[in-house]
Amino acid sequence: MKRRTITSLAAGLGLAAGLMSSTAMAQDNMRIALVVKALGIGFFEAAAEGAEEAAAELGNVEIIYTGPTDTTAEGQIEVVNSLIAQGVDAIAISANDPDALVPALKRAMDRGITVISWDSGVAEGGRQMHLNPSSTELIGNTIIKLAADHMPDGGDVAILSATATATNQNAWIEAAEGFLPNYEGVNLVATVYGDDLSDKSYREAQGLMASYPDLKAIIAPTTVGILASCQAVTDAGKIGEINVTGLGLPSEMAGCVDSGATKSFAIWNPIDLGYSATMLAHAIANGAEAASGAEIPMGRMGSVTLDDTNSAAMSDPFTYDSSNIDQFKSIF
């Protein structure tokens, strides 16, 4: 048994080696840069973990996990410039601004670097493809549904978002507003912006509670905002009155689910996202064509088919509640 495993492993390695030489890959590692909005955000750290997983599976791949200090386009341009200077093979970026990054990323492509965007996209001219974690429609619907599920009689809800310029949050909110008529009695009273800063989000949540005494739910489609809102609701002693929901990280949200401030929330798996982005960047850098209609494999996540804007959706968002939070909170 053991012996057989070793032989099959050896055969696998031999096959892999054969593939390597047949695609004429250089001896050095392929360097794939995973550029995030800002370092020190749990979500992106988890994505980096997924990227490392993909790298280990692919072999001969080095992941450069990097990003600016604050979520600015200017900071990301400096990061991209330094990656161009290092001559990396591929850049997979979650952009702080869909337009401002385009000239810098175009220059990267001009110098032969594969560029894809994931999570927060870049305008079409600035990347070869974009990987959405899920579809905007599904997320928009999910965040409203999360709130509506726990308010059978309807009532007031408010949205606490990231920055007013955050690409993906705005798209989700727009989609959510479109689905609103499907949920009878659910009334969206305000959308406020916490800028993805804990203290500002906390104050905005306090402001919502003060301005709308009948508020039944705060929907925060951002990991910083949902945690700050949960804290604000807890501190105001309104657990049970106001349900905090939206998109959050299981590790950060475990306490809120335990206390009951949050009944359920959703998120896709950032580990899967980093993994898929790396797999796609690797495939395209190795010659896979990124054109509309093309199907590109991404390892254990299956494959994606690019639409007419060269975008693709990875998978559906996943709902976490008291039944499964303990299982996921140690993962990310």
Binding site: L39, G40, T69, D70, T72, G75, G87, V102, P103
Partner: protein, 328 residues
């Protein structure tokens, strides 16, 4: 006490000695040290194109830093510069939507900069308000207007020849921005170090009342320096907008502190009265080289900020410590 061998100097320092012991020389040493360290640390550093790319990290900020140096030397400060960039960029973006061409856009960018500078200048010199308070206010005001106009939207569609200012090259790897940076540096060096106006700026910074009684029109000089700072913010707005090819209200967010850091690192006393343009030029290179060098090593930006902070404190503290403990 022996009195036999006391050397009595006829002057405090020879010009050469003064130059060698100056802030600029110290900073130059730091810059050379960083350059050498970078060339050893990363194989990608010594490459003409990469070094050219690196200059974009500081050219726009440095343009404002020169005017800011004059302002700080005269005893004032302008924290609204980054917000002026946002407002000027928004105005240019709005103009694009109604079909204004490149020359018009540049004119609008510079004019908005000038107007904002004049607004700050009037509040400070006309009403006698402290500049730090006024410009903290206008910082929110100018950027606030951009946010009201744009919200979460962006202005795009800049004409293709407009891209030259931020993405064009004059010759080989020498970018337009870098040439502009050099020209502006030279102009400000002349203004500050070779004109009556420059002497007046120093005089006001050292003793505004004394300067007033010496016949210097203090308010007018300060107003002009505010205008210059606004104009430079307009110039930086043109370059940055052209480089990004789009405008969002968050453009250049947080630059004011980086610009003040550059000025102070360049040896300008935050209390006013002293400093030089060559110092600011070297400081711009130091900051650009540090961030680019660390970027090549993929050092996280948080660590970069710590390094810049440590650099600022140590470069400022070292001469003080030296003066305190040197053998007398």
């Amino acid at each position: 006490m022996s009195t036999a061998s006391h050397f009595v100097p006829d002057r405090l320092q020879t010009p050469l000695e003064r130059r060698l012991k100056s802030w600029e020389s110290l900073l130059m040493l730091v810059a050379i040290g960083i350059f050498i360290a970078n060339s050893f640390a990363s194989p990608y550093f010594l490459n003409a194109w990469n070094l050219s790319d690196a200059t974009f990290n500081f050219t726009e900020k440095a343009m404002i830093a020169f005017a800011m140096a004059l302002l700080i030397i005269s005893g004032e400060i302008d924290l609204s510069v980054a917000a002026i960039i946002a407002l000027a960029s928004t105005a240019m973006g709005a103009a694009v939507q109604v079909g204004v061409g490149t020359p018009g856009l540049v004119l609008i960018g510079l004019s908005v900069g000038l107007l904002c500078g004049a607004f700050n200048g009037i509040l400070v010199t006309g009403l006698g308000l402290p500049s730090i308070v006024v410009t903290i206010g206008t910082m929110s005001l100018f950027r606030g207007i951009s946010f009201i106009i744009l919200g979460d939207q962006a202005y795009r569609g800049y004409p293709s020849d407009f891209a030259f200012f931020g993405q064009g090259y004059v010759w080989w790897v020498i970018s337009f921005e870098f040439v502009l940076f050099a020209i502006i540096a030279a102009i400000y060096a002349v203004i500050l170090h070779m004109t009556n106006f420059g002497r007046a700026v120093y005089a006001i910074g050292n003793n505004a009342t004394g300067a007033l009684f010496s016949g210097i029109r203090v308010a007018r000089v300060k107003f002009i320096v505010f205008l210059m700072t606004g104009l430079m913010s307009g110039v930086a707005a043109v370059c940055l907008t052209s480089r990004l090819g789009s405008t969002r209200p968050s453009i250049a967010f947080g630059w004011e502190l980086e610009i003040v850091t550059m000025v102070v690192l360049g040896g300008v006393s935050i209390l006013g009265g002293s400093g030089s343009i060559p110092g600011v030029v070297i400081a711009a290179f130091v900051m650009g080289l540090v961030t680019f060098g660390l970027g090549l090593l993929n050092v996280p930006g948080i660590v970069m900020s710590i390094v810049i902070g440590a650099l600022l404190i140590s470069v400022i503290a070292l001469p003080r410590l030296w003066a305190m403990w040197r053998p007398r």
